[in-house]
């Protein structure tokens, strides 16, 4: 149980399932900054990031009954909703056009812009920044940009097996750094 909650997670979930406004209000107050932090590491424009956060909380409210506590913590579930929404946003056509980026698939081999260090050095990304270069790139592409292992294998011209092993190793290092 998180030391920051005043509700236990089970209490919170069961109240949310009953559409308890107070519980949802608490959820927002307590978790929105953490989720906004993650979204900001993926969507670099903070106005767009705020739109994503709004969608994320609407989705949390709507989909709370699809949360399965046997599969993980509530925060993990929300974090994945936030990450997926943020990645969907950066892959959406209007967003790509707005940042004058080229279509991802057509440009999958042009990695220069993608691998350049991101200015946004906060949170998990800051930790990732401390990883050695070949790990940092892999985490950036997979976690923050949402590429599949197959796509990364093509982008970096590495065998798929190598990509998988290195990502696992990178994640293990990441874990020791944040724990």
């Amino acid at each position: 149980m998180s030391p920051y909650t005043k509700y236990s997670e089970q209490e919170l979930v069961s109240l949310l399932l009953k559409q308890d406004n107070q519980a949802f209000s608490y959820l927002y107050d307590h978790y929105s900054p953490a989720l906004f932090g993650i979204i900001n590491q993926i969507v670099l424009d903070s106005e767009t990031a705020a739109d994503v956060l709004q969608d994320v909380f609407v989705n949390i409210w709507r989909k709370i009954n699809s949360y399965d506590e046997t599969k993980g913590r509530l925060f993990t579930w929300m974090l994945n909703i936030a990450r997926n929404a943020a990645i969907d946003k950066i892959r959406s056509r209007p967003y790509r056009q707005s940042i004058k980026n080229q279509p991802l698939e057509e440009n999958v081999n042009n990695t220069a812009s993608r691998l350049a260090p991101q200015v946004n050095d906060i949170g998990l990304k800051k930790v990732v920044g401390k990883l050695k270069e070949e790990y940092r790139i892999l985490i950036d592409l997979s976690y923050f940009q949402g590429f599949t292992h197959e796509e990364i294998s093509r982008i970096l011209d590495l065998p798929l097996g190598t990509v998988k092993t290195r990502i696992r190793s990178a994640l293990m290092q990441l874990r020791t750094m944040i724990s």
Binding site: K18, P33, G37, A50, N84, L124, L171, I178
Partner: protein, 258 residues
């Protein structure tokens, strides 16, 4: 691979961070059920991640919470998810309905357009038929006239106007063998609507009615037959006259020379 190797393979982090494949996820979830220590390890990574995220929180813009509230108050609640699905589906049907109304209106528009066009074509077709009929009957009359004029048995009597003010002229085509009488009006002044011209045959000084006619006929007129005639005369009579000729109103005369 034993469970400890599995725990330290990076699968936990991969799973929690949403980087595991579908197959890896299924396997991991099954393993968690059968190996509580795996679920425990997962939970501790999740907590570390949550703590890390809370430490690196970024306050969202003020007013966003109100936007979220207003968005969810419009949509609704977890327990009404099924309703939402159906309402979304009905929104889909709404589109179908809208599309079908649109199609219907489109079809109706074309139906009206084609109906009108068809109507116009019918009208113009009728007009053409009428004109063809008129032309045909005119052609028949002209052909008939031509035949009469070129018939060697026919005698032509030119009627000369008797009134200086209104010099009427016409020609009588008389076939003395068949008794047919035709009249070709050349120049007869128009009459008031209650008056008509009448052609007479003068036989031994007595007038015999050969028929009333209107002067506007542009082609040959078939009049009543007569076997004899010394002369022909045209008078102006009351429309539909059945009596004798009003000789004061004698307009034209011509002698038939046999």
């Amino acid at each position: 691979m034993n469970i400890h190797e599995y725990i330290s393979s990076g699968i936990i982090e991969s799973y929690v961070l949403g980087l595991a494949s579908e197959e890896e996820r299924r396997e991991f979830e099954e393993m968690c059920v059968s190996h509580p220590e795996l679920a425990e390890a997962r939970n501790s990574f999740e907590l570390a991640l949550e703590e890390q995220a809370l430490k690196n929180a970024v306050p969202p813009p003020a007013g966003l919470k109100e936007k979220v509230w207003s968005a969810i108050s419009h949509t609704t609640s977890p327990s009404k998810v099924i309703n939402m699905e159906t309402s979304r589906r009905s929104a889909g049907w709404g589109w179908v309905a809208a599309a079908s109304i649109f199609l219907f209106l489109g079809a109706a528009y074309f139906a009206v357009t084609f109906y009108n066009r068809n109507k116009r074509l019918e009208t113009s077709n009728e007009n053409l038929v009428t004109r063809i009929n008129q032309t045909d009957s005119l052609l028949n009359k002209i052909t008939e006239e031509q035949k009469i004029m070129s018939d060697p048995n026919i005698m032509v009597v030119n009627m000369v106007g008797t009134q200086k003010a209104t010099p009427g002229s016409a020609s009588v085509y008389w076939d003395s063998t068949s008794s047919n009488v035709y009249l070709v009006v050349k120049n007869m002044p128009k009459l008031p609507s209650d008056k008509q011209y009448q052609l007479w045959a003068l036989i031994e000084g007595k007038p015999h009615d050969l028929g009333l006619f209107d002067p506007h006929a542009e082609v040959i007129l078939k009049m009543k037959n007569t076997q004899k005639a010394d002369a022909f005369a045209i008078t102006i009579e009351n429309r539909g006259n059945t009596g004798g000729p009003n000789l004061e109103q004698l307009q034209s005369m011509g002698k038939a020379k046999l």
